[in-house]
Amino acid sequence: MMAKKILLIDDEPHVLRIMKMSLLREGYQVITAKNGLEGLATVHEQQPDAIVVDIEMPKMNGRQMCEQLHVDLPDHQIPIFIATSRAEDEFRSWTHAYPMIKFMEKPISLRTLIAALKSTLSEPLGNARMQAGGNQIE
């Protein structure tokens, strides 16, 4: 089976590096981007199986990227994990229209991230499950 391709988008180099390192060890194929704009281009180029994206980024933030992605690919089934420092309802309300989005509150535990990715990607109905319990915080 081909390794699942994960796209990591974060403007913090340290964070990007350690996440990449950990996911590579788990056997995922990892691609990275430094901001939303770059991330969006990468999605189109490389069609990742899952996206982990920071919310606060220069040029295009995580929210703008998700919204643009839904404009570009309205029927896409790519699970998106959003890393945010603010996970209160008022900061999440915009994702109600996007069942593929899941929130992860900073600081993110690598183990939790890996477990979430595994459960989402390994199961054939992973996407559907995410839809059912969409927008939950890990």
Binding site: E12, H14, V15, M21, K34, P58, S85, R86, K106, P107
Partner: protein
């Protein structure tokens, strides 16, 4: 004047009336008198005519028929004392006149003689246009059983109005009656004179508009009337006086009320808040001018129109409608945020019932106060976004630290290179957090005013040298060269050493952080007559023109990748500028992208500051 003329005419009319009525009375009396006299005469003629006719009927026919001066008829005629005998005629049984005596101017009327013996004796009235009305007595003259003829005696019917010669008696009767008229008239005039005087006095008072007692002396009924009139005048004057004083009290109290009202109104107008006062039915009875600014509503419309039509702000409208619907209840305070062209505006609305001094059982209205809460809302929103920034800025290094520490715990990651990397990252991020926390604390304390500046006269060269030593020591692994340029000594400056050290350190840290590998950081101290300048120069990535104006904003970080590769929190420069401004100096920046930047702190010398103060 008209009134007086009318009175005079009335007065004359009274006299005329009296004369007319006296004349009428005289005429009536005379009429009765004449009527009586006429009746009397008629009766006399009746009696005389009847008896004389009968007497003559007894005289033998031949004797009567004798003509000449000695005839019976002549004797009768001329011996008759009355002048009302018009004629005496002896006629034959066929009606032919045989002998007659006639008064001058009288024509003996021809008449049909009676045929029946029962009608031979009698009288009749004859209307004669020439001789006037005549009463004729007739009787048969018999000779034995034979009718020889008739004797006719005609009398003039007595007239109602007697001849002029008889008027003297009537005049003597009428004169005293007539003379009584002026007597009565003058007596009456004398009696009503006080009344006329009273009337004239009243007229004068009416004209002058003053009400006085009438000073007219009169006796009897009129005196009584004037006395009553005077007491009525006195009573009226008392009432008028009372009413005048009541009216003046009313005017005074209404003026006081008006003054109080305008005072309250001007107070309400002067308040910085918008005020709407509702009566107990919920209608608007007052609205001040501040509503123009706060609700963009014209107070005149507020007072006259329905809330729905003047209040365009939905939530404000429903607040006011609630107050109108439930008068006597208090509402709010409710904060309403209005987004107008992306500028935040907010108002606080609250409503309190209005109670009288005595008790709190019933309210007589509601006052709605609308306060501009824009500053609070902005402060709140600023505080919220500040806290959000801090949370984000703290969680970002924490995130990296958390991930690296987790990885370290994992046995698979424990190769030496990774451990070194992890320790470095954790150290860097810790430093970043400490810097962020310190800078946040300092900036908050400076902004809230709780951090006072402790200004002392110091050797600025020592401070600059210390700062340089510090950064050199901290950045020995950074592959950056340091260069310090300064004169041996400078003019006196009075500064807060610790705070200025933070500012210089922040600039130096940035100069190292954003430098190129092998680049140089230069710290230079220069001096002019007025100021001391501290230059921090680097040979780093530089700042774009777009970013140059924003680098001192709190939490601002360039979107440039070169900047984002380096850890930072966007508070260092903001704090440095605050500190320099506290020293009455200024912090400026110049830069060229890709070549480096220069930050310059200018601090005015003490002498210069003294000059400014003086």
């Amino acid at each position: 004047m008209k009134l007086l003329k009318f009175a005079a005419w009335k007065k004359e009319r009274l006299g005329m009336g009296m004369i007319v009525s006296t004349l009428a009375v005289i005429s009536f009396i005379l009429l009765l008198f004449f009527k009586y006299q006429q009746q009397n005469l008629t009766d006399q003629i009746q009696r005389q005519g009847t008896s004389l006719t009968r007497l003559l009927a007894e005289v033998p026919f031949e004797q009567l028929a004798t003509s000449g001066k000695q005839s019976a008829l002549d004797i009768l005629f001329y011996s008759h004392s009355r002048d009302d005998l018009a004629y005496a005629v002896l006629v034959s049984s066929q009606g032919q006149p045989i002998q007659q005596v006639v008064s001058p101017g009288v024509l003996v009327p021809e008449t049909q003689l009676p045929e029946q013996p029962s009608q031979w004796l009698g009288q009749r009235n004859i209307e004669s246009p020439r001789s006037g009305d005549i009463i004729e007595f007739y009787a048969p003259i018999l000779a034995g059983p034979h009718l020889k003829g008739y004797i006719r005696l005609g009398y003039r019917q007595p007239r109602l109005i007697p001849a002029f010669s008889q008027w003297s008696f009537a005049a003597s009767l009428a004169l005293p009656i007539f003379l009584l008229t002026p007597l009565f008239y003058f007596l009456m005039r004398r009696e009503i004179k006080p009344m006329i005087a009273a009337q004239q006095a009243l007229n004068r008072q009416l004209e002058s508009g003053s009400l006085q007692q009438l000073e007219i002396s009169a006796g009897g009924e009129v005196g009584e009337f004037i006395k009553n009139l005077n007491s009525y005048v006195e009573f009226s004057r008392g009432r008028i006086k009372q009413m005048e004083s009541e009216q003046s009290n009313l005017v005074t109290s209404s003026k006081v009320l008006e003054y109080k009202f305008s005072k309250v109104t001007s107070m309400l107008q002067a308040l910085p808040d918008g005020i709407i006062v509702l009566d107990k039915c919920g209608s608007v009875i007052f609205a001040n001018d501040k509503l123009k600014i706060l609700l963009n509503a014209d107070p005149k419309e507020v007072m006259s129109e329905e809330t729905e039509s003047w209040c365009k702000i939905r939530s404000a409208m429903s607040f006011i409608r609630n107050c109108q619907r439930y008068p006597g209840l208090s509402f709010g305070p409710e904060t309403i945020e209005l987004k107008d062209n992306h500028t935040l505006k907010a108002i606080d609305m609250s409503a309190q019932p209005l109670f009288g001094d005595d008790q709190k059982s019933t309210s007589f209205g509601t006052v709605i106060v609308i306060r501009d809460a824009t500053n609070e809302a902005m402060a709140k929103s600023g505080r919220e976004s500040f806290v959000a920034h801090i949370a984000h800025e703290l969680k970002t290094p924490l995130n990296a630290m958390s991930m690296y520490s987790q990885a370290l715990m994992d046995a698979e990651h424990r190769d030496e290179a990774f451990v070194t990397e992890a320790i470095n990252v954790i150290h860097d991020e810790t430093e970043r957090m400490i810097g962020l926390i310190n800078n946040t604390l300092n900036i908050t304390r400076i902004e809230s005013g709780s951090l006072g500046i402790d200004r002392r006269r110091v050797k600025i060269t020592d401070l600059v040298k210390d700062a340089m030593d510090n950064i050199t020591r901290e950045s020995k692994d950074n592959n950056v060269h340091f260069d310090l340029k300064m004169p041996k000594d400078t003019g006196p400056v009075s500064i807060d050493k610790n705070m200025l050290r933070i500012a210089i350190n922040n600039l130096l840290t940035n100069a190292v952080k954003y430098n190129q590998p092998g680049g140089t950081v230069t710290l230079e101290l220069t001096e002019t007559g007025d100021s001391i300048f501290i230059h921090v120069r680097d040979t780093g990535i530089g700042i774009s023109e777009e970013d140059l104006s924003k680098v001192f904003d709190k939490f601002y970080r360039s979107e440039d990748d070169h900047v984002r590769e380096r850890t930072g929190h966007g508070l260092g420069l903001a704090l440095a500028r605050e500190i320099v401004q506290l020293h009455h100096g200024q912090l400026t920046v110049s830069s060229e992208l890709g070549k480096g930047s220069e930050f310059v702190i200018e601090i005015p010398k003490e002498t210069e500051r003294l000059k400014q103060v003086v």
